[in-house]
């Protein structure tokens, strides 16, 4: 009998059925089966936020979320944030030239997008408190803050 099971979920608005070991983290399903490699592997233990996606609107560490728990779920990845890469955060990220190596930035943007959805006018302290789950090893933090503030201002 197969050890792998099928799960149906919606990813970036598209219905998908994937077959995997039930404990396979969503991260690897996104990256390998759905070829959505914008979501990154950083630590595997929910410590760095590089794998952040939205599950039913909530920012989620996809490295910790077994695929078997996601039947019927609605997942949004960086690729699905905006069809034209024109989300205010994406525009601000480019305007501020925020990424250095850029590996963590999908997760940073998805994390920030969840913040702005709930709190369209966050203070600097609120930004920092919300974003400190996500590591940028290059250290681009000051520009991440500036980008979020710009997105708030420019919309």
């Amino acid at each position: 009998m197969s050890q792998m099971t099928a799960t149906s979920l919606t990813v970036n608005g598209k219905r998908q059925t994937v077959t995997a070991h039930p404990d396979t983290p969503l991260l690897w399903v996104l990256r390998e089966q759905l070829k959505l490699t914008g979501t990154k592997f950083g630590c595997g233990v929910g410590q760095c936020g590089a794998c952040t996606v939205h599950v039913d609107g909530q920012p989620t560490f996809s490295c910790l979320r077994p695929i078997s728990t996601l039947a019927g779920a609605n997942v949004t990845t960086i690729e699905g944030l905006s069809p034209t890469s024109s989300h205010p955060l994406q525009k601000a990220w480019v305007a501020e030239q925020t990424p250095q190596c850029g590996y963590c930035q999908s997760g940073q943007i998805m994390r920030a997008a969840a913040l702005l959805k709930d709190n369209p006018r966050p203070s600097r302290d609120e930004i920092v408190a919300h974003m400190k789950t996500n590591i940028c090893r290059c250290g681009s933090y000051r520009r991440i803050i500036a980008s979020i503030e710009r997105a708030v201002k420019e919309g």
């Binding site: 396979t24 490699t37 950083g42 960086i78 994406q90 990220w93 030239q97 590996y103 590591i135 090893r137």
Partner: protein
């Protein structure tokens, strides 16, 4: 402008050509490192038969043959005879698109923009029509200041390619000018260029580069340009302006392709179970078998659906499968017996540091004299000194923890090998592929995706080696190895742990007459650049980098004491300079205290080098060095000449201390740097800023602890790196000295942080911290031992 994300299958069956020859260029590199670079790796210049050409289509493809003294000869690639073998650097399409090869690796330092921009400047290209193409490994792309190989480390891209890219652009511009002039029947001297076009003002004619490319030929009597034929800085249109980085838009929408993102048809995945003892072999010299598997029981692993093969490697056991998670499960199900008793398995960081300390402090023990950096007769000066000031400094190992863990994809088929590796060393990656698979170098293609952080870690070739080993194990199919974060933390090539003994001889009237700096630790060169170690007879320019100072002291002596540890030590952000500067600049403050002088005043008194004086004075102005701080706050200063980086920098920090916990807090950092030519000023400032954050973290917190050869840390929860709520205010000023020289600024922000913080803590408390990281427990212990002023 844009950049090309390569079709992973490209390059197969591309046109054949030969090699461009280049003689080593002289540059402002430390003489010793250069000596190691010269002709030691000439095999890299043998090149390959198979070339990755720019996708030419119609238009003009130009390669360059580089002769002695960097005279460059432009050669039209498609017309090049078999004897004049070149690989294209540049292609101008009939629609005006200018494609420029990127010979280096983009890892967040912005090089994918900076280097092509230098060529585009002299070509007078229209930047909006520039396309950047990642170069394959080829001798013509070697970096003359980086071991004369293709690869990057030591902030050497801009310095290495500054003459090459600009001369190439100048030569190509000349080709366009000559062709336009001929077509118009006017003397070439009457023609000029504007971005993307040649103009003839007298007849009000102009022709776009694309139009010229349709008919242009490289003239047979092409003159060789030199630096003096290039633009005066006042004519620059791109250098020194802030140009948006070409790859940034791909980094905000998930389309950027990092090493780990490579996708190939029918690709397999792999995980490796690694030994308990820290094991990061450098595959050219070592296979890690001393800690490797003796036997494996893979019964349970093979029962996991998706696992297709278990392979014994010298240094670990690989599980190969149809998806990555299956291989992780398979790895966890393995039962492995590991080899015991290696030198590394006996390693204890704390004991080793004590050993290094005893060795460094015992001046009867002689090490390798770093003769080129020594001046005067230090021995005699110490004997005649009224007073000798001395101090011992220690530093633990630290780790890179790149956000993108090591990974690599290999595909061996039909006797040819493709490797997709996020590498800082393309030439070395090819050599590793050759060594492991036996595939001839000219049949190996190295593809360089983006690097999710490098910091010197990705100079290592173990992941390339593993991709090659696994490709061999599943010949015919592509396979990708991905390291777990735990693999990354526990099996790194850490920054060396060292002890440094500093001494200064002082006369009765307070003059510093001699300086001695002894560094004890394991060697990076012996492990990973043995050719350099052999050539330099035991000198390690990585471990001891930065010991040479600009202070005007009549006698200076520097020495390196090598001790083998069995644990891999490697490159890091600013490598040895991170701790050598901690010792030098902490000791300068200790010396100031001994002489009863202000730390800034002593530095300026001993500093004749003009650019250094300017950054010291500037940072003091920025921070208002003489202004009294509120109770509980103090300033600390550190300065770095920057050696081969050619970018003196000074930093001041403002700190406070939690007396109850021993935790140091840095509130504000000021930095003044003279980068000579800032090719991209805003981006350069970002590099300094994030270097400061690295330096802060390494100074206060980061530590790899090894017991019985086993790394005690596992992941970000016990190897914490800075988060957003821990970043101080940072103010940076670029000082323009008008010096027109290239520099390397990627790492230079890092080293001054540790000594500046230690110096500030001393000024706050009267307690001297001589070990990094300055962990709260260490600070408390130092307070208890010597906290006279601290109550």
């Amino acid at each position: 402008m844009s950049y090309l994300t390569r079709d992973p299958l490209s390059g197969i069956g591309s046109k054949a050509s030969g090699t461009g020859r280049r003689n080593d260029a002289r540059s402002n590199i430390d003489a010793l490192t250069e000596a190691a670079s010269m002709d030691t790796i000439t095999s890299n210049n043998t090149g390959m038969n198979r070339r990755e050409f720019l996708k030419t289509g119609a238009g003009l493809a130009i390669g360059f043959v580089v002769g002695p003294n960097l005279l460059m000869q432009a050669v039209e690639v498609q017309a090049a005879a078999a004897g004049a073998q070149v690989s294209a650097w540049l292609h101008i399409a009939t629609d005006g698109t200018v494609s420029i090869m990127l010979p280096s690796s983009e890892m967040g330092q912005g090089i994918m923009t900076t280097l092509p921009l230098m060529l585009a400047e002299e070509l007078d290209a229209d930047w909006s029509k520039v396309k950047v193409v990642q170069a394959h490994v080829d001798g013509v792309f070697n970096n003359p200041v980086h071991f004369n190989v293709q690869g990057i480390g030591g902030s050497r891209s801009v310095r290495g390619y500054w003459p090459i890219m600009r001369l190439a652009g100048g030569q190509a511009r000349y080709v366009l000018l000559v062709n336009a002039a001929q077509r118009w029947g006017v003397p070439v001297e009457q023609c000029a260029t504007l971005p993307g076009k040649v103009i003839h003002q007298a007849s009000s004619r102009e022709m776009s580069y694309g139009e010229i490319a349709a008919f242009a030929k490289v003239p047979a009597d092409m003159p060789q340009l030199t630096e003096k034929d290039l633009k005066d800085p006042s004519q620059w249109r791109l250098i020194g302006r802030d140009v948006p980085r070409v790859e940034v838009p791909t980094k905000v929408n998930g389309t950027a392709v990092f090493g780990i993102d490579v996708q190939l048809p029918g690709m397999l995945y792999a995980s490796i179970q690694r030994p308990p003892v820290a094991t990061c072999p450098y595959p050219i010299y070592n296979d890690g078998a001393e800690n490797g598997p003796v036997s494996v029981d893979d019964t349970e692993a093979m029962k996991i659906e998706g696992v297709v093969k278990v392979v014994m490697l010298p240094h670990g056991v690989a599980v190969i499968g149809s998806d990555y998670w299956a291989t992780v499960k398979g790895k966890r199900a393995l039962k492995v017996e590991w080899r015991k008793g290696s030198l590394g398995s006996k390693y204890q960081t704390e004991e080793k540091l004590q050993e290094y300390g005893a060795l460094a402090s015992d001046t009867t023990k002689k090490g390798r004299s770093l003769a080129p950096w020594n001046t005067g007769d230090a021995d005699t000066a110490f004997k005649g000194a009224a007073k000798v000031v001395s101090a011992l400094y220690l530093n633990d190992h630290v780790h890179h923890a790149c956000m993108e863990p090591f990974n690599g994809t290999g595909w061996l088929r039909n006797g040819e090998l493709d490797l997709w590796v996020p590498t800082q060393g393309q030439t070395w990656a090819r050599d590793v592929g050759n060594k492991i698979t036996g595939v001839a170098k000219e049949k190996i293609r190295i593809h360089t995706p983006l690097l999710g952080g490098g910091f010197g870690a990705k100079v290592e070739q173990i992941f390339t080696g593993e991709a090659a080993m696994l490709a061999k194990a599943v010949e015919g199919k592509p396979v990708k190895i991905i390291w777990s974060r735990e693999d990354d933390i526990k099996h790194g090539a850490y920054r060396p742990a060292t002890a440094q003994f500093m001494r200064a001889a002082v006369t009765a009237d307070g003059k510093v007459t001699a300086w001695s700096h002894r560094v004890a630790g394991d060697s990076v060169f012996l492990r990973s650049r043995k050719f350099a170690w052999d050539k330099l007879q035991g000198f390690d320019g990585i471990v001891a980098v930065g010991v040479s100072t600009a202070y005007d002291i009549p006698a200076k002596h520097h020495e390196y004491l090598y001790q083998e540890s069995g644990i891999a030590v490697g490159y890091w952000n600013a490598i040895g300079n991170g701790y050598t500067l901690f010792a030098i600049e902490s000791f300068m403050d200790e010396l100031a205290v001994a002489l009863g002088k202000d730390p800034l005043a002593l530095r300026l008194e001993l500093m004749k080098e003009k650019r250094s004086r300017v950054v010291l004075e500037e940072v003091a102005r920025m921070a208002q060095w003489d202004r009294k701080r509120p109770e509980g706050r103090a300033l600390g200063l550190a300065y770095n000449i920057g050696g081969e980086w050619n970018a003196p920098i000074a930093e001041i920090v403002e700190v406070s201390l939690d007396k109850a916990t021993g935790a140091i807090k840095v509130h504000k950092v000021w930095a003044a740097i003279d980068p000579a030519v800032a090719v991209q000023p805003k981006h350069l400032t970002q590099q300094i800023e994030t270097g400061i954050i690295w330096g802060l973290s390494a100074a206060l917190r980061e530590r790899i602890t090894i017991k019985d050869g086993q790394v005690q840390e596992s992941n970000f929860y016990d190897y914490p790196v800075p988060r957003m709520d821990e970043i101080p205010e940072i103010e940076i000023k670029l000082v323009d000295s008008g010096v027109v020289q290239p520099s390397g600024a990627g790492q230079i922000g890092v080293p001054p942080m540790a000594p500046a913080i230690a110096n500030a803590v001393y000024r706050l408390t009267g307690v001297r911290l001589r070990a990094i990281p300055m962990l709260p427990a260490r600070v408390k212990m130092a307070m208890e031992e010597g906290g006279a002023k601290f109550a």
